[in-house]
């Protein structure tokens, strides 16, 4: 019986328990939430921002925002869905903020060779896409948003979202055709 009580006391906290504790300001619980979700959030931010430093900044911003807004999470939707929505908006906001300032001074061209080899194939070629086409492609093809939802998130017309997706698809196919060795043998 004592062993059972000890086992219960020592078991890792479930996500809803972590959320409740973090809502009350428990940073240790919040760190565990970070550990559970940071890789998923970082993947989303990297694909939306297209740059490692910006993705790191956006991921940090997402979790700081999550910390601030967590007391407002009332459990009416899945936590992961709520967090995902928050992170998409935060990452888009980071892109917008960065674009408005830096785009005046630096080229938007991306050197694909500077991308770490640890990323999987699609992530390497995604970085070659123009910003808007890449974001639309990520949200629609990878994250499962409908074009109407993508349009709302990005503040563009639904038709523009569809056109950008089509453009991204064609560009990616062209890249795959041109660079079969770069995109084909990375999973071994």
């Amino acid at each position: 019986m004592t062993a059972q009580i000890q086992a219960i006391e020592q078991r890792p906290l479930l996500e809803p328990e972590l959320i409740d504790k973090a809502k009350l300001g428990d940073k240790a619980a919040f760190k565990q939430l970070y550990q559970l979700h940071h890789q998923r959030v970082y993947a989303l931010c990297l694909r939306i921002t297209g740059q490692v430093p910006l993705a790191e900044e956006a991921t940090q911003d997402c979790f700081v925002r999550l910390w601030q807004k967590l007391p407002q999470f009332r459990g009416e939707s899945q936590f992961t869905t709520w967090l995902h929505s928050l992170c998409v908006n935060q990452a888009l906001s980071s892109v917008k903020k960065h674009r408005s300032f830096w785009s005046r001074f630096v080229s938007s061209d991306i050197d694909v060779h500077s991308v770490s080899d640890e990323y999987e194939d699609l992530d390497k070629i995604l970085l070659k896409l123009p910003e808007r086409a890449r974001i639309v492609f990520v949200l629609h093809a990878l994250e499962g948003y409908k074009h109407e939802e993508v349009a709302l998130l990005m503040g563009i017309a639904t038709g523009t979202s569809k056109a950008q997706y089509h453009r991204a698809q064609k560009l990616l196919e062209a890249i795959i055709d041109k660079e079969p060795t770069d995109t084909g043998g990375h999973n071994d």
Binding site: K23, Q39, W67, Q68, P71, Q72, S85, D121
Partner: protein
């Protein structure tokens, strides 16, 4: 489906859901959590933009009311109605407003009240309704108070505006992509 097309579909399906950041990000996050500007936003603890706008609008309204009252006193334009007629008008306007709110609620396309994004609006509407009820009760006691009338009508107008704003919120259910 062409080979390239199939290859792209394959890459999409194989794309990992998770990517490990190249460096530890927690340390910087933790430092930010301690800053006062990033303290947790408890429900009702910090005024939302809607409340701020309401506060600004209230101040503007009060200034307007005072100016209007001074001007009207000077011009003696108002002829007070009998209290019973005013009470009847009061009741009629309240009923019309409730009918309008019911129609708006019945015909709304999205259940924005049940979403996180709709929370500030919902709170704003709730506050307006409480204020309107208190003003209504005060008006029943003093139906000749023109300032109270204007304030009451303003709360009703704002409630309708916020209900309409709620229907324009982007609350389409999001996919389970996370």
């Amino acid at each position: 489906m062409t080979n390239t097309n199939a290859k792209l579909s394959q890459l999409i399906n194989q794309a990992p859901k998770d990517i490990e950041p190249q460096k530890d990000l927690w340390h910087d996050i933790e430092k930010q959590l301690d800053k006062p500007e990033f303290h947790q936003v408890q429900n009702n603890a910090k005024p939302s933009p809607v409340f701020k706008r309401l506060a600004v609008a209230s101040i503007a309204l009060m200034i307007g009311l005072v100016s209007s009252h001074m001007w009207q006193q000077k011009a003696s334009l108002l002829t007070p109605k009998a209290p019973s007629a005013l009470l009847a008008t009061l009741s009629e306007i309240k009923n019309q407003h409730q009918l309008q709110v019911a129609q708006l609620t019945q015909h709304q396309l999205t259940n924005w009240q049940a979403t996180e994004i709709g929370l500030p609006l919902e709170k704003g509407i709730e506050q307006l309704r409480k204020a309107a009820e208190q003003i209504y009760q005060a008006l029943q006691q003093t139906p000749n108070d023109k300032e109270l009338w204007q304030l009451w009508l303003w709360t009703q107008q704002r409630e309708i505006e916020l209900l309409r704003q709620g229907q324009t919120l982007p609350v389409t259910p999001l996919p389970q992509g996370a």
